[in-house]
Every structure is written in C-alpha cells, then in structure tokens.
C-alpha cells in the first residue's frame, strides 16, 4: 500500500496523503488492501506482464530479421542482425523523419493547448461562481459521451473547403476539444486549491488573470503534467482523422506513415515491423521514464470520474 501512496502522491494534494494513510491499518482477513499476494497472484501477474510486453518485444525481434526468415516455421525468438538496416530502410520508405517532426508538432501543440485551456476552464468550474455553471458543466460531461468520429464528415468538408488537406492544422484544431481535460482539471482543483488562497489573492487586489497565473497554475502543476502526458499519448496515437486528411507521401503523422507500410501487395514484413517499432518507441520511452506518474494520473482521474 505504501507504493500506492507514493504513486498517487504526484498528483494528490499534499494534505490528502496523511488522511489516506490514517485509514489504512494492516489487517489480515480482508479481500482488499493489505493482504500479501500469494504465489498465484504473482503467476497471474507474470502471465499478464508477458502477454502485455511480448508483442512489443517480438516487434523488435521481427524487425531485426528479414522477410524470408519471417516466412518460416518456427517463428524467430531471438534477435537477428538486420535491425539497423531495416530501421534505416523503413525510416526512408515511410517518410518517417518528416512524420516524427509532424507528430511531435501536432501532439505537442495539442497537449499544451488542451492543458492550458482545461486548466483555466477547470478552475472556473471548480472555484468560481457564475450563472449557468451547473448546466455548462453538464454539457461538458455530456460531450465526453459523444465520440468525435461521428463528426468527421463535416470536418472533412471544412478541411476540403479551406484547402487544408495534408496540412497539420487540419489535425491539430479538431483535437483541441477535450471535455475530459476540463473535467480532469476541475476534479483536481476542487480539492487541491484551497478557497482561502484565492480569497487572499483577491483581497490583495489580484485580478482573475493574476489569480490564474500566480495561484492556480502553481497549484495545478502536477495534474497539468499528467494531463499533458495523457493528451500527448492520445494525440500521438490518433489514427482515423489524420488518416483521412493527411497522405502518407505528403505530410503524414507517424501513425499514417506506419499504416502505409502495411499496404502494397508483397509487403516486406520485417520492414513493417521496423516501422511499427519506430512509431512506438518514443512513447514507450516516455512510459518507461514517467510510467509511475502516468499510472498515478490515470488512477487519480478514475476515482473522481
């Protein structure tokens, strides 16, 4: 349980941690909580871990072989010598250099904008009183239930009319609508930002923008970091919409470029795997470094959701 506390601490407000600790007392005959996991628990977890990681490891193995080897039984289980050659070819064939720059721009701009807009909107919903607040918040929650894919046809017509096909703003702009972000920041700020601090700043004569800048942003920083990472992952992996408006040869994102590798009638499987590996590696690195924070953020968002 101690690990849980530290995991969640990154986004929990400071004062919530001791209370959470107080509740948890060790006790043996319970289904949840402090029970030590037995061997079966470790076996099940081991199986799930292997199933989760194996396809990723095997992507790298397949990428290190060549097409002939992948058309033989049994399938390869150890690394071959072709990895760097394949990465190099896939990089050039799939336009991946450009795709990486594009995706970084798209995901970075989207994540930063969503975090900023969600924080100020979440602050207003969490801490400010205004007419229509409840109704507007209901709309925000309602929009989370409508999948954006249903809106692609008019968006496509807009993009065609504005002649934005194959341009990054066609992908960035629609991705900025994130009801989840507003909800996430609101839930966080309700508990993480004491009313007294806002009042104190008000009494000092701070305008609303000053309050946001000097009080809300510092208090919200941990949640902003988590939301930023979640949104970066989401936009990086976004497939349908970029696939419709960007072309693989023109101005693709990584997903569009990687998907393009799979087409063609005699595709080289080892090259496809090399492309898939390149497209996944950056996010896996992010997860390897910030995994703990991301896990904490998802769990934090879940309890309140």
């Amino acid at each position: 349980m101690t690990t849980t506390t530290t995991t969640a601490k990154s986004v929990e407000p400071e004062d919530a941690v001791p209370t959470a600790r107080k509740v948890r007392r060790p006790k043996s005959a319970r289904a949840g909580g402090q029970m030590h996991g037995g061997p079966i628990a470790y076996i099940v977890l081991g199986v799930f871990t292997i199933v989760s990681l194996f396809p990723l490891v095997w992507t790298a193995i397949a990428a290190s072989r060549d097409n002939q080897r992948l058309a033989q039984n049994p399938p390869p289980f150890v690394f071959g010598s072709n990895l760097f050659h394949n990465l190099d070819v896939a990089w050039n064939d799939a336009n991946l250099g450009k795709a990486f720059v594009n995706t970084t721009i798209v995901a970075g701009t989207s994540a930063a904008t969503i975090v900023f807009l969600s924080t100020i909107a979440g602050f207003a919903f969490a801490k400010l009183r205004f007419r229509g607040r409840g109704a507007l918040m209901l709309i925000v929650i309602g929009t989370m239930m409508v999948p954006p894919q249903l809106s692609i046809i008019p968006l496509y017509m807009m993009v065609a009319k504005l002649e934005w096909t194959d341009q990054l703003q066609a992908v960035i702009l629609p991705s900025l609508v994130s009801a989840f972000g507003v909800f996430f920041m609101r839930q966080y700020l309700i508990q993480a930002l004491p009313d007294e601090i806002i009042e104190a700043a008000r009494v000092d004569g701070a305008s609303s923008w000053r309050v946001v800048w000097h009080v809300v942003f510092p208090a919200a920083r941990p949640a902003m970091a988590v939301l930023g990472m979640l949104m970066f992952v989401q936009t990086w992996n976004d497939f349908l919409w970029p696939f419709l408006v960007l072309s693989q040869t023109g101005n693709p994102t990584v997903q569009v470029a990687v998907a393009g590798l799979g087409r063609g009638y005699t595709p080289d499987q080892s090259l496809i795997m090399a492309g898939a590996l390149l497209g996944t590696l950056p996010l896996l690195l992010v997860f390897a470094i910030f995994g703990k924070q991301i896990v904490g953020g998802i769990m934090q968002g879940a309890v309140k959701g």
Binding site: A31, G32, P74, K161, N237, L283, A302
Partner: protein, 336 residues
C-alpha cells in the same frame, strides 16, 4: 463576499495608493479612481469565469457540436467526396439505401459481436487483475506500468504486429497451437477466428488501462467495510461479491459506457488487419465494422451523404444505448 469588494483597497500592485501618501482624506480624483477600479474589479469578477470557459465551448461548437448537427443535415443530401460543397436534397433516400444494404446489417452485426467479444472478457480480466494488483506486492509499480505499455502502443503498430502473430502459415499463435494438436487456423478469412483476432487487439490494448481504473476505485473503498464483513465471517470471495463489487458499481458502469462507445467506433484494427482488403473488412466483409462501413461508403465509394446517414444512425444507436444504460443503473441503484 460582494459587499467587501466595495470597501476593499484598490489593487496595490496595479498602482494603488502609494506607500508614502497619507490615507486619511482621499482627494476627489482619488475617489473617482477608486470607484473606477472597483467597477473594473466587479466586471472582472463577474465576467472572467465566462472568459475562462469560453475557449473550450467555442472549440466544442466549431469542431464538436456543429459538425455533429451538420452530419444530420448532410445525411439528407447527396454529397460526393469529389465535390463536398455541392449538396442536393434527397430527403430520407440515404437512409433507405443503407437500410436496404445487406452490408450495413452485416457491419452492424459484426460491430455488435466484435464489441461483445472485445469488451466482456476485457472488463472481466481487468476486474480480476485489479483485484490482484490490490494485494500487497513486490514491484507493484512495475506490473502497473508493464500492463499500460499496450495502451502506449498505437492502433497502427499493434494491428500490424498482431497480423503477423495471427498469420495462418507462419504466425506465432498457430505455431503454438500445433503443439496442442490444433490445425492451422485461418485467422484472416474465417469469420469467427477473424472477429476474435480483431477483438484481441482491442483487448490487448485496453485491459491494463481498465484494470488501473478498477484498482483506483477499489483503493477508495473504506477498509472498515471489509473489517466488519470479516467480523461477520464472510470469506474473501464473499467479501469480493458483497463489498467490492457493489462499491465498484459506478466505476463499472463508467467503464461499460466508455467501452461501449469505443466498441461502436472500432475502425483502425479491422482496417489494418487485412490491409489489402482495406475498408471491406476481409474478403467477405467478415470483420467489417460500422466504422469501416462508414469509411467505405464515404471515402471509397465517395458518397459522403450516405456516410453521414451511417454516422447519424450510429449516433442514434448510441443514444438508445445510453438511455438503456441509464435505466439499468437506476434500477440497480433503486434495488440496492
């Protein structure tokens, strides 16, 4: 609250009374200045909340609500992909056309079955996994991060790898199955195997994520509930049934709703599972989902109007599903 600001000093940082000035008798100009600042203060207090929430709502209007409503309008027109701005009114014809199309019903059925095959095992496994993760474990963070790795993998990359793993002749899965005496399965061309394979991509990507959500909810359950259940002599399984599950009800409902919406939109996995067949979802449309069917009508057959009709049909189905969910959850709440 409101009255205090009238008497409050003008904002010091914005050029209020200088420190050295005697505060006793403010000049007339000073009073006017204070009144002006106070008015500005009131305006700020009153309107800034709207300023803060308006960017979200403007973006939502432009890229969420308007396109959704306009999809309904476009569904009543004939619109070609090549000239998306030329719209010809056709009334309900797009709807009658798709309802007469066997492939629409095929896609609807596939979406339902793939949705069930992918969602039900996924959420059940996530629940079991969360229960185990809730034990005190060594290296618990490692398991959590490892199980989230598929979530970090894109649909495109995951689908391409699974195509190879599910290969009929040289795939890892058929190779493993031959040890237990199962002949090579044609995962791409046989109906149920292909639906299972497509679903497995969804399951692989989302099980860990849902497990974390359940785990978070489990950790929020007050421990005294378990203590009193244990005092009453409830076994661990009984505790799980009678304490854990009821407490998780809102979370379960949440994940069911989110997974249902996700399942209704499945697109990338079937598209890439047989990349050469593309939008048809297999040689015999055996794993074509509604998402793929929409894409095929709109971008392969170039009938954007018909694609809009499909989108709106999906939207209406979602509304019905949402209402059913709501009713069921109210029943459950009332019965507990």
């Amino acid at each position: 609250m409101a009255t205090r600001h009238d008497t409050a000093a003008p904002p010091a940082k914005e050029g209020g009374a200088a420190p050295g000035r005697p505060a006793a008798v403010p000049t007339e100009a000073e009073q006017r200045r204070r009144a002006r600042l106070s008015r500005r203060w009131q305006r700020d207090k009153r309107w800034s909340p709207y300023a803060f929430v308006s960017p979200f709502f403007l973006l939502f209007l432009a890229f969420g609500l308007f396109p959704l409503v306009y999809t309904g309008w476009a569904s009543l027109h004939q619109v070609e992909l090549t000239a998306p701005t030329d719209m010809e009114w056709v009334g309900m014809r797009n709807y009658t056309r798709i309802f007469d199309d066997d492939f629409f019903w095929n896609a609807a059925k596939n979406t339902l079955t793939i949705g069930i095959i992918s969602t039900v095992p996924q959420l059940l496994m996530a629940m079991g996994l969360a229960h185990i993760l809730n034990y005190k474990l060594r290296a618990s963070t490692f398991y959590r991060v490892a199980m989230l790795a598929p979530y970090a993998t894109s649909i495109a990359a995951a689908s391409l790898v699974f195509v190879l793993l599910f290969g009929r002749d040289y795939g890892m899965i058929n190779w493993a199955l031959h040890f237990v005496g199962i002949d090579a399965i044609d995962w791409q061309n046989d109906k149920w195997p292909s639906q299972f394979a497509v679903s497995s991509i969804v399951i692989w990507r989302w099980t860990g994520y849902n497990a974390l959500i359940y785990l978070a909810a489990m950790q929020a359950i007050p421990q005294d509930l378990y203590e009193s259940a244990a005092l009453d002599g409830a076994s661990r399984w009984k505790q799980f049934l009678h304490v854990t599950l009821p407490s998780l009800r809102p979370t379960i409902l949440f994940t069911v709703v989110v997974s249902t919406i996700g399942a209704s939109q499945v697109f990338g996995e079937p598209l890439l599972f047989d990349a050469n067949k593309g939008a048809s979802g297999g040689a015999e449309h055996q794993f074509q989902t509604l998402g793929l069917y929409l894409y095929e009508q709109g971008w392969v057959n170039q009938h954007l109007g018909r694609a809009s009709a499909i989108a709106w049909t999906m939207f209406l189905i979602l509304i019905v599903v949402g209402i059913v969910n709501y009713v069921i959850s109210r029943r459950l709440r009332a019965s507990s």
